[in-house]
């Protein structure tokens, strides 16, 4: 099943990049896709626990929610930068996490970093180290809405 997703994604990528539909070029595309599939299979043997990211509808909703958050915090940070007094108060602290699967943790850490104002500096077994430009940013993370939404995705 996983190879099906990879094949579809690779074929889509080829068609977008080439933009030609001549049989010869589509044949080259099929050749490249199968070559990459062979390499992916070999890589799975080297990597004992191949990660699997199943595309699902909830992810779209999460990304839309995340974009809204990113826009809000971008505006906040832009205000701080143009303020002559530079009102930042950096904190560097630990944030306990409850999501366990590697995929969910990756998504969580990346979402935190993607939001301007908060930055994941280290990922540990049960907590992250977060650098934030203001105490409000870290309070919002402690509130845990982002983590609840990721937990609901069931990755």
């Amino acid at each position: 099943m996983r190879y099906l997703y990879v094949t579809v994604a690779l074929a889509f990528f080829w068609v977008v990049l080439s933009g030609h539909f001549a049989p010869l070029l589509l044949g080259f595309g099929a050749l490249s896709v199968s070559l990459v599939l062979i390499v992916v299979r070999r890589m799975d043997r080297a990597d004992r626990q191949p990660g699997e990211l199943v595309p699902q509808l909830g992810l779209v909703g999460y990304i839309a929610w995340l974009l809204k958050l990113v826009i809000e915090s971008n505006i906040d940070l832009a205000r701080r930068i143009w303020n002559p007094a530079l009102p930042i108060e950096p904190v560097w602290t630990r944030l306990d996490t409850h999501v366990v699967s590697p995929q969910a943790k990756t998504l969580y850490a990346n979402s935190i970093t993607l939001t301007p104002g908060t930055l994941t500096t280290q990922v540990h077994e049960d907590h992250f180290m977060i650098h934030a430009l203001s105490a409000e940013g870290i309070e919002e993370l402690r509130h845990g809405e982002m983590e609840r939404r990721i937990a609901r995705l069931d990755l």
Binding site: L17, E89, P90
Partner: protein, 93 residues
């Protein structure tokens, strides 16, 4: 309007270059270089459209990939060095 966007991108690239030359740590320089690379991707995409180049978007996509891999590679190299060198110590603002 595209011209204004191009000018804004070039100004940002200049600011990033100033940071890259000032340092003070090597990490700052790498951060500025990474920001510079992302701006280059935007410059190729928008400038190429304004000058009606062909296949500029493929170049931009490739540049984005090279920029990312380059940043990761240099940071891995910094991390693997035994003695990290950081000019400034932590403290209070």
């Amino acid at each position: 309007m595209l011209t204004a966007a191009i000018i804004a991108i070039i100004v940002t690239m200049m600011l990033a270059l100033i940071r890259a030359f000032q340092g003070p740590t090597e990490y700052d320089r790498m951060l500025a270089a990474n920001a510079f690379g992302t701006k280059t991707v935007l410059l190729i995409a928008i400038g190429g459209h304004a000058l009606s180049w062909h296949s500029h978007l493929d170049v931009a996509l490739l540049y984005a990939m090279v920029n990312f891999v380059g940043t990761i590679a240099v940071m891995r190299f910094f991390e693997s060095r035994a003695d990290g060198d950081c000019g400034e110590e932590g403290g209070t603002l």
